[in-house]
């Protein structure tokens, strides 16, 4: 084995000695021990490799990626037959009808960007106590959303700029503004989030709401192309709570 061949093989030897037991490297390693010039080269190569590996290890995954992965996988799991789910045994017949309707909605798994937004919203609903609405446009929208006859996907359009300018709660999602309006329906709190489609193009075009449930919270997401908005309504509870709005 000449020097060039030895370098070629040793180039695949990971720093830290993890490949020390691999027979392929034995001859080249022995040669590096016996040949000072090759040994010096190998030491520099290992130092360089270790330095690059250490820098790469410093790269941390973005916040929320882990939760988005777990949420996406939950959405992928096939549902057990409805009659085996304990929650259904506790629901009244009328509520069950509504829930069955909600489960017919497509699972929220179509596009990763939309999933990340849903994950962001569920985390905000679960973690933030200070949900507030300021300004007349928000109060008008809040009152309209609270009406029992309002059905969200079909009827909802908003003036994003006016709501934002009036002091409506604004969040930052990947550098893009998201507004939130809270409202009550039959004494239960819901949270409507809106982001411009232009700020979140990675999502479904299908206007039908898609559902995602995580822990004790659930949300439904849908786009409104005419309004240029992507909406998510979220609440504490399961899909049955959301089914009352949709």
């Amino acid at each position: 084995m000449n020097d060039r061949e030895a370098k070629f093989i040793l180039g695949a030897y990971r720093p830290g000695g993890r490949d020390a037991g691999d027979a392929l490297f034995h001859e080249a390693l022995e040669q590096a021990q016996d040949d000072p010039a090759l040994g010096a080269w190998f030491a520099r190569a290992q130092a360089h490799d270790a330095a690059v590996a250490a820098k790469l290890a410093e790269i941390a995954p973005p916040p929320g990626l882990r939760e988005a992965i777990l949420a996406g996988a939950r959405a992928s799991r096939s549902r057990r037959p409805l009659w085996r789910r304990a929650v259904w045994l506790t629901l009244a017949t009328a509520a069950a009808i509504a829930v069955i309707g909600s489960l017919a909605l497509p699972a929220l798994r179509a596009r990763a960007g939309e999933r990340r937004f849903a994950d962001f919203v569920l985390a905000d609903v679960a973690d933030t106590r200070d949900h507030h609405n300021d300004g007349d446009p928000a109060r008008v929208l809040q009152a309209w959303l609270s009406r029992p006859t309002t059905r969200l996907p079909q009827d909802l359009t908003i003036d994003f700029a006016a709501l934002r300018a009036s002091g409506c709660r604004t969040l930052n999602f990947g550098g893009k503004p998201v507004i939130e309006v809270c409202f009550q329906r039959d004494g239960h709190w819901f949270h409507l989030y809106a982001i411009r489609v232009s700020d979140l193009p990675e999502g479904r075009d299908d206007p039908a709401p898609a559902m995602l449930a995580r822990d004790r919270y659930a949300c439904a997401s849908w786009p409104n192309a005419a309004n240029g908005m992507r909406f998510i309504v979220a609440t504490a509870g399961d899909e049955a709570e959301l089914a009352r709005l949709l």
Binding site: R4, K7, F8, I9, G11, A12, R14, P15, G16, R18, D19, D22, W41, R44, A45, A47, H48, D49, A51, V52, A53, K55, L56, A57, E58, I59, A60, P61, P62, L65, R66, A68, I69, L70, G72, A73, R74, S76, R77, R109, A112, G113, R115, R116, E202
Partner: protein, 183 residues
């Protein structure tokens, strides 16, 4: 599939998978999508894998295939194997250079390496996979992995030098305050 094994699988592998995806895709958004899609595929298909010890290789392989599926290879990738071997000599200055650069600059240099070399190179630097496992992940012979590592490292060292030169060029002298003249 119960939740706990999947959560453990995610916790064990999502960070190195993200680094691999970042080097392939070149931006954080696409990298995040690739990682999510990989685990999504696992959740729908991969958990049926009988040998759970192969989960790591399965995930890296699936991510790489998903990346390739999204981006059709260009003709350059097939002919690049014919290039001469990379320059093997390494100066001490090059080791110090890596230490001076921040992690983002090193990733940027890695992204400047030709893709056919970048994938095995990143897997090598993640240190999770041996050259044999890298060959299996990428679906190439062992000799090809070694060849690509050699050439990829040469490209990376050149890219690291460019990164450092660029970072130096960004430093400009602080402007003198108005009204003061040099002594």
């Amino acid at each position: 599939m119960s939740n706990e094994p999947f959560t453990h699988l995610v916790d064990a592998h999502y960070a190195p998978l993200h680094r691999f995806a970042l080097s392939l895709a070149g931006n954080a958004s696409d990298a995040g999508d690739l990682v999510q899609e990989t685990f999504f595929i696992w959740a729908t298909k991969g958990h049926g894998l009988r040998d759970t010890g192969k989960a790591k290789s399965w995930l890296f392989t699936t991510l790489y295939r998903e990346f390739l599926r999204r981006r059709r290879r260009d003709a350059r990738s097939t002919s690049i194997e014919d290039l001469p071997p990379g320059e093997n000599d390494i100066a001490a200055e090059e080791i110090d250079r890596v230490g001076r650069l921040d992690a983002a600059a090193v990733v940027a240099a890695l992204q400047a390496v030709d893709e056919v070399f970048r994938a095995p190179l990143t897997l090598f630097y993640l240190e999770d996979l041996s050259y044999v496992e890298i060959a299996g992940t990428l679906g190439v012979p062992i000799g090809t992995v070694m060849s690509r590592l050699s050439r990829g490292k040469a490209q990376l060292r050149a890219a690291l030098a460019r990164e450092e030169a660029q970072s130096r060029a960004k430093v400009v002298p602080f402007p003198r305050s108005a009204g003061r003249k040099p002594a």
